[in-house]
């Protein structure tokens, strides 16, 4: 399957996850304890036989470049294949020119060098299992100019509010891309995933640039819907869009349920990640853990319920962790009660004994904070 190369797109300026995103891009967020969010699109590509992948980085590159390495852990052949990290020349945080289109334009030479006829563009901030080979085949068979993946949801009033939606006709033709205004339950959420010919993509990038320096890829594809044959491709199964704080929290908690998780995971479709060579987790005599996802390298003496615990956390005697997402290397001290929280990496929750937020508005503890 050497017909397409892949592009992993960073989140745009319009998307922001409070707290966590101060320290890294969304793709580098920890997910379900042992993954990073970007593991999902890259594994999907690798499993689909795509072994030339460009990852665009807009800001805070360290965490992501560290994690990606050369891509060997994604089962990408290190000679024939390539996981290439590309940077924008506009890397200032609040530069209005810092769009996905400008990243592509800055790296047009690298895109032109690819000798694959098709390109698959997928976001670094969505979690799902999708066979891009099938998406490409559908695209080729249909003869469309562009194919966009979407996921139909029935909770678009309260969720996916930072996402775009696709308006489709009966033949799955895309009439337009527009923001989810939260005014209807059922919506086709746009998965920010595109397939098209490489040359078509390059033309779109150039056209977008000539029209407006602030145009994004979805803006120009929306415009293209007027003349071009743009089609939708329906995705089924688990789908989460990590585009704000609540969606990150909810997606993690939803997957704590083993049955829900089976909508995402599949033995024949491995999700790869980078190993940290941690040892197994040790449960002490006083441990009490239920309904949770636990990573390796933890030392657990306390109680954990309905939570995700990252790698190498220490949960001391008498501590209670409930409905929370604890990122790696965190210490929850003796008798500390943590509920409805996202606790960022290497925090130490040791002095204050009750850290409880409202379940609808989960709290956030900063990276490395001692509380």
């Amino acid at each position: 399957m050497y017909d397409a190369f892949g592009i992993i797109n960073p989140s745009s300026r319009q998307i922001w996850v409070e707290g966590l995103e101060d320290y890294r891009s969304i793709g580098a967020f920890s997910f379900l304890g042992r993954y990073r969010i970007i593991d999902f699109p890259i594994s999907n590509m690798s499993n689909s036989g795509i072994d030339r992948i460009q990852v665009y980085i807009r800001r805070k590159p360290r965490s992501l470049t560290d994690h990606l390495g050369t891509g060997r852990h994604y089962n990408i052949n290190s000679k024939r294949g390539r996981l290439q990290v590309l940077f924008s020349d506009h890397h200032q945080e609040h530069d209005i020119y810092n769009t996905d289109i400008s990243s592509y334009a800055d790296n047009l030479e690298s895109i032109e060098l690819m000798h694959h006829p098709y390109v698959v563009i997928a976001p670094s901030y969505m979690v799902c299992r999708i066979d891009y080979a099938q998406l490409i085949q559908t695209h080729i068979d249909s003869g469309a100019d562009i194919t966009l993946a979407y996921h139909t949801v029935d909770n678009a009033k309260e969720a996916f509010l930072s996402c775009n939606t696709l308006e489709l006709n009966r033949q799955k033709g895309v009439l337009g891309i527009e923001p989810n205004h939260g005014n209807a339950k059922v919506r086709n959420i746009f998965m920010d995933t595109y397939v098209m010919k490489k040359e078509y993509f390059i033309d779109l990038v150039k056209k977008a640039q000539s029209l407006s320096s602030m145009y994004t890829l979805s803006d120009i594809v929306n415009l293209a819907c007027r003349e071009a044959d743009v089609r939708g491709f329906a995705h089924h199964g688990f789908f989460a869009s990590i585009t704000d704080f609540k969606s990150y929290y909810d997606a993690n908690l939803e997957l704590i349920d083993f049955k829900s998780a089976m909508n995402l995971f599949d033995d024949e479709w491995p999700f790869y990640t980078k190993t940290n060579d941690s040892c197994p987790t040790k449960y002490y005599e006083t441990a009490a853990v239920t309904s949770s996802v636990i990573s390796n390298g933890c030392l657990i003496e306390g109680s954990i319920e309905n939570s995700v615990i990252g790698r190498g956390c220490v949960i001391k005697k008498g501590a209670v962790v409930k409905n929370s997402i604890i990122l790696s290397g965190t210490i929850i001290g003796e008798d500390v009660h943590v509920e409805n929280q996202i606790v960022d990496k290497m925090a130490k929750l040791i002095r204050v004994k009750e850290i409880i937020a409202d379940p609808e508005n989960p709290g956030y503890i900063r990276r490395g904070d001692t509380i």
């Binding site: 379900l32 304890g33 042992r34 060997r72 852990h73 083993f258 998780a261 995971f265 491995p270 999700f271 790869y272 190993t275 060579d277 941690s278 040892c279 197994p280 987790t281 040790k282 449960y283 002490y284 005599e285 006083t286 441990a287 009490a288 853990v289 239920t290 309904s291 949770s292 996802v293 636990i294 990573s295 390796n296 390298g297 030392l299 954990i304 190498g312």
Partner: protein, 379 residues
Amino acid sequence: MKQNNMLAMILAGGRGSRLHDLTNKVAKPAVSYGGKYRIIDFPLSNCANSGIDVVGVLTQYESVLLNSYVAAGRRWGLDAKDSGVFVLPPREKADANLNVYRGTADAISQNIDFIDEYSPEYVLVLSGDHIYKMNYANMLKEHKACNADASIAVIEVPLKEASRFGIMNADENGRIYEFEEKPEHPKSRLASMGIYIFNWKMLRKMLVADIKNPESHHDFGKDIIPAMLNDQKNLHAYNFKGYWKDVGTIDSLWEANMDLLDANNELDLNDSTWKIYTEDVTTLPQYIGADASIRNSFITQGCLIEGEVQKSVLFTGTTVNVGAKVIDSVLMPGVVVEEGAVVQRALVADGVRIGKNAVVGSADSENIELVAKRVKGED
């Protein structure tokens, strides 16, 4: 090689027949241990962490799994430019027939050409089936400082157990003047760990002589070390302190796993400055169900625990269903304990399924029960 000029050879040919059904399909060094490891991960990780780049693994018996396991040197980072793990089974030569390795020394002798390719100054000879953490760079430093011809790592054992080991008698400077294999009346408590550093040029000569000696067993302990002592070579005893275990039997393998539950265990697998590396198996995260109860246990990723687990070590991808109990047991990778089943004081081999409501092992058995075949449960 550039840094320390030392190449490592791991003897991994042991059949491990006292491990019974566990070694039917895999050689002993490939037996699983500690939730996610295989025994040979320990010497290999020690090599990687000690800055050794090139490791030869001498395999013999039924080694397809061991061979393909160690061949992936990336697991221990031993896959850089001039680095590698090389599987060295006995092989057919232009001038000789295909032969098995006749002894530990013969295994090295048959691979002189391999070692010569790298022309190292020192050769480190290790056993593939011991569990311990050791910095071989420190041993080499002492070896050089003593100007030794060979260094042998030794560990203090209780005097009453000493007669089970090869005992080194050394002077106050650590110079060995006598070696006794399993002495009835041991004179010291310094047991050989089967870890040697040799000056390669010297060892090469001794091996070439040993090949031709029809009386020799071609064994380091029985032939080479005594011959060196005879030749007045400078043999140095390198004192090792710490956890060291040879897991030769089902009981000792079970025990070594249980050691990990001991809060005072010296083998700290959580130490980030000396990690033990192993295969990076693609699994789910560790899922704990709503009715689970886990105490005093060591559990790794890919496990799904819905029942009760106590004082046990659970390996990658094991499942304990609702209502099942696992007590004082070791579940090897992929074991499934179905609803209501009870597993106690048992070591369950890879992939074995314990059926619904089945009972395996018992709290008061003298020996640990090895469960190597599917146990049928109720329908």
